[in-house]
Assembly symmetry: C2
Homo-oligomer: 772 residues x 2
Amino acid sequence: MPAALDSAGAPQQQHDLRSAGLSRSSTYSEYLQGFPSFPSHLFASPPAHPHSGTPSPTSRSSSASNPSGSSIDWTREYALERARRAALASLPGLRGVLARLLDASLPWLAVVLTGVCTGVVASCLDVLSAWLGDLRLGACRDMWWMSRGLCCAGLDPGETCRAWRTWGEIAAAEKHVVARALAQYGIYMIFAVLFALTSSAFVNVFAPHAFHTGIPEIKVLLGGYVMSGFLSPMTLVIKSLGLPLAVASGLNLGAEGPLVHVACCICDAVLRLFGTLRTNGARHREILSAAAAAGVSVAFGAPLGGVLFSLEEISTFFPGSTLWQSFVCAIVAAVTLQYIDPYNTGKLALFEVTASQVWRGFELAPWLLLGLAGGVWGAWFIRLNEEWERLRRASGLKNWPVTEVGALALFTAVVSYLIVFMRVPASELVVNLFQDCSGVDPYGLCDSSNTSSVVFLLLVTAFAKTLLTAVTFGASIPAGVILPSLTIGACAGRAVGLVMDQLHKAFPENWIFADCPADGACINPSIYAVVGAASALGGVTRMTISLVVILFELTGAIDIVIQLMMAVMVAKFTGDYFSKNGIYETWINLRNYPFLNTKAEYRRDTVLARHVMTPSNQLVCVSDEGWTVSRLEGLLEQEYYRGFPIVRTEKDRVLLGYVGRAELQEALATIRQVPEVTASTPCFFTPSPRAARPSRSSPAASPSPAPLPPRVLTDCVRRAGAQIPVQLSQDTPMEVVVQMFQRLGLRFVLLTRQGMLMGILTKMVGLHRDSG
Amino acid sequence: MPAALDSAGAPQQQHDLRSAGLSRSSTYSEYLQGFPSFPSHLFASPPAHPHSGTPSPTSRSSSASNPSGSSIDWTREYALERARRAALASLPGLRGVLARLLDASLPWLAVVLTGVCTGVVASCLDVLSAWLGDLRLGACRDMWWMSRGLCCAGLDPGETCRAWRTWGEIAAAEKHVVARALAQYGIYMIFAVLFALTSSAFVNVFAPHAFHTGIPEIKVLLGGYVMSGFLSPMTLVIKSLGLPLAVASGLNLGAEGPLVHVACCICDAVLRLFGTLRTNGARHREILSAAAAAGVSVAFGAPLGGVLFSLEEISTFFPGSTLWQSFVCAIVAAVTLQYIDPYNTGKLALFEVTASQVWRGFELAPWLLLGLAGGVWGAWFIRLNEEWERLRRASGLKNWPVTEVGALALFTAVVSYLIVFMRVPASELVVNLFQDCSGVDPYGLCDSSNTSSVVFLLLVTAFAKTLLTAVTFGASIPAGVILPSLTIGACAGRAVGLVMDQLHKAFPENWIFADCPADGACINPSIYAVVGAASALGGVTRMTISLVVILFELTGAIDIVIQLMMAVMVAKFTGDYFSKNGIYETWINLRNYPFLNTKAEYRRDTVLARHVMTPSNQLVCVSDEGWTVSRLEGLLEQEYYRGFPIVRTEKDRVLLGYVGRAELQEALATIRQVPEVTASTPCFFTPSPRAARPSRSSPAASPSPAPLPPRVLTDCVRRAGAQIPVQLSQDTPMEVVVQMFQRLGLRFVLLTRQGMLMGILTKMVGLHRDSG
């Protein structure tokens, strides 16, 4: 039964508060200390933050009313969009038909363009990464701008490539073998450090937003946060240049996450050609969701996985039309990449599993164990990464970002050069870990005489890479965490597979291996590597369906989908046991972005909205009497709130509506152009004469004379944003309120009791990026 | 600007109405005639339908307050669940810990049990279908209960199976060859008709809900509709028995859709062991979503596709926990099925594509054409199916359901026996259509000397199957539409592939085929079959991601995922051009189920809630003064509304809250047990004395004496359902209102103006099942 039926409610409320050990005078945030599971930090105590810049007074676009560091209101953006469409629908004749046709085709055009550009950029990045990576090891004679693959193209399989020479050969061709090795080692490290320093310097000087993976920011952005510069062309250029350098530097990082950021930057650049798509915050974000799908699509060659990644992991709202646009964008990007074919393979799948995928029931046990280990490792890795970031901030290391990256690159190069599995590029290692022993085996993974040392090396690699990745991810360089996680998981999985294989060979008669055929081959370690990779990535990112589909598309391992699903599920459950936040959510928290996780559920009925709300006596309201043009103008100058509730009179506080700051500004600017309007002209927010109000209304609202009611103001406000604020009873449980914020994308709700404004709840907008 | 700022609003509103060509006196449904895109039929004119049975007066479970034919209110169900959890959380000591642990593990237990049972039942159905299907052709000597596969098991590949004899051999072993053929033909048809009649009779006599695919009903059910008997054990038994009979009868129908229904029935049966999961409407539906995923999982051997199918196609709400439960349920079901392994293949994938999946750029054109054709065909098929259903109802054919099925089976058998592609089971045909010409070719699909007649036969098969499926889907027999669509699409696709192949052979030098290798083999018709199947199914069901993933898992065709996505997308777009509704939505409309499509978007700003709402003067409200126990009891007897808004006084209509019928009934029953309470005891809905109300409230609400206020009533009502009704301004655009209905799962909203109740909007509950 609604507690709205409380009359004034004071005793009841006092009782509630006392039972929680607090008095009404304490702030709501203190009050909420008792409810740790509740996202109280997301609901701001003041109704809205003052924003730094003064927005331009006349512009009516939503971007003007959504300054950087604020949060958009989805319902408002959709209302603006509806108004725009209504205007478009009323255009007469052929011009109207053409305009509507153009308007309907614009998003598709934008999506296709984004897809094509993303595919092209991804191809360029692939080629550039390969060339830079090879440059550390040697150069093509005469044609230094060629990667090893291009340099040696056209040779028969057995032939030695003479055109390509390692630095050792070039620098010390005739000398001692030790000198040659030292030259090789030295030049390798010089290049590695050089690449890392260049990349980091680019990022720090030109585009601070280009560092890191970018996925946490995109999640927050798509959730409604406004962050200027994050998708700027400069960010695009710097991230596109810095990413191949970072990858080629041999640091433990991946290019997959940053590619999502790159795709979103491309999309934003493309949208500059399409005015309405970019100015409306909601539509802008819908298209960006599609671009994120394209980013994953080219990163893994997994268009379907890209769409699901965008749906599951990144986007806050995913209406049906966005699904389609993501589909189109992901497909176009993948086809473009496949057409350009930078790897010259003709295939999209990066890491094809060539193993025969036959498995036995007893193998479920090690796979589930791998899932469990992935979850534990993921949680531990996140913790490590988080602690390092805190240390980085506390120790002042963050004031020396380029130095940090250089030192890291040097250290990584020194360590990596010693172990073969660490020296080779991670993607190449994963390809080999995912393959069985029927093909070529460049790294001795299948050397059965030497299994124990291979297992040892794999485990050392996994451990070292874990530590290195944990300190790399978050440094001032473009860096993703997906490929390192896959690599670490694949190493560990392969090691477990090898151990199982050895066990089977040692005890072939044991009842455990009863299912195995008699002739020997039973365990396939490459499948263990895939399962291990899935578990590790699941533990770190807490992705589910999209992860399985991506691995599916990545490896073509169709017969082990059930095992992959199980491992991913176990990893996610285990990881969630330690902390609910995946790596991206952890970074969202680390950087204090405001983000209302739509997947979280708050099941707690005891906190009501009135316990948390900012009470109405702390709100700045406008009322339908006593306001003049100059007083409204003064209000706009003095208060930087994003909007003002409208009440009937300041005494009865009967809620009439809400007016946004931008709309009010525009309305005032318009009526100021009417000659009769002076500073002292009274302003009303009701369109018809007040005498028409029924007599049963409060007697305090006595009819005012209203000699010259500036109806223009009303109409302007009405046209500017047909915004009906969402009103809720102040006794609504906060859990329901949070659900409404999540599902409707609200920025605020007004709380009422019997029609009277009692308070407001606003989604908090945090400070803009506190580091980096 | 909110139109809430209109004062009484009469002139404005009159103007709006006049401009729409209507006066206020006309009903809202007439008014909405002008807005065809608006789902006006979903908002009932009276606030709620009277329901037929009188609910039991004392039961407090939500099932009692959700009679069959009504619609649940998700917010209310979740509120009840919160109250239950709060009670559980307050249990002290070890008993509390154990109770909470049990409560948390119950859904998982239910999901695992459902998965295991679904896997077992699906295996049994597979075996039964195979045996019945073989029985039409012959029998195993001595062991008639064995299917051909079992009967002939253990033979070497080349050996002839002597134990299995066709009916022709048995009946006319020594006689003339014509007599033998006739005997074979006759017995085949007799069995076909017999199976169909049995299945249909079962359905009609014992469980009318077991007919058809069941997916439209499950969609509606998961959307909140209450439909008793649809998931009953009897329905489960009859559908499980009728389905193999229907499949074996040779009718053009599939078992995949009905398996989803079977899985949901199993889930409902399992949930009978778990009280709280079944009585709460919202949680019940969450688990049913998981069961639907298991159904698809066993139908196609596609656990991932099942989860996505449940997410995309079936479920209305899909919170994070449901995703997990679906995952688990689908995996457990698939593993169980694989463990039992009814096909003795060791593989889950039904239709493995063995073709090498190399393709050339020019092939995109025919594939996109296939997508286009799939969309057109899908729209046409839906139309055909719909028209036949209308004809069935209009002609009185629906009064002879068993006869209809019998005649249909006879006709199908006569027609099918003539064409080899139609005679064989559809799943077997699809397997062969999806295979290239490197393996066995029992139906001469690869006979290159005879291509034109194969193409002709394939097209005839596709056409005949289309007509037969259109009249079969909807007849009184368990029948799915997925396998027939796949078959038809595969036939058409293979035909197109063969034509392309012939073109290439005829004009190998043409520039179109420039990409082809010189040595001849270029076009692979089996890939065309897969693309065709995807297009046809996409056109009929309008599924997108889930369809691609299902085909993906079904065929293992990993390299053509981009082509499949393109074809599915084109098919969906083309189909949507003709009609927005897929086959399941069409049947939802045909059977008048109330269903608010959560995927639809209504972008129309001109209709406001006050134009559509039932105005408050037509509502039955209770107020906080003037009500006695007997008057409330009288109200419950006279009015069958699901609940009543509470206003302060009947004159000022200030909205205080809302009380559900069930809650009011329980509260009254409770206070009737208090000795002092008599029929004339006044009842209040506010907990504290009215004098405490602040003086600024309306003067009409004068403090009443309240000698014996039965606070018990208030408390009971409060405890029974802590239900805060969602209030909106009456000037909210209907588009926003619809969005709130969709996203929050509301059953009704109350519409207010400045705190006064102005009207109500209720999701309509249709009449229960008007046919079959």
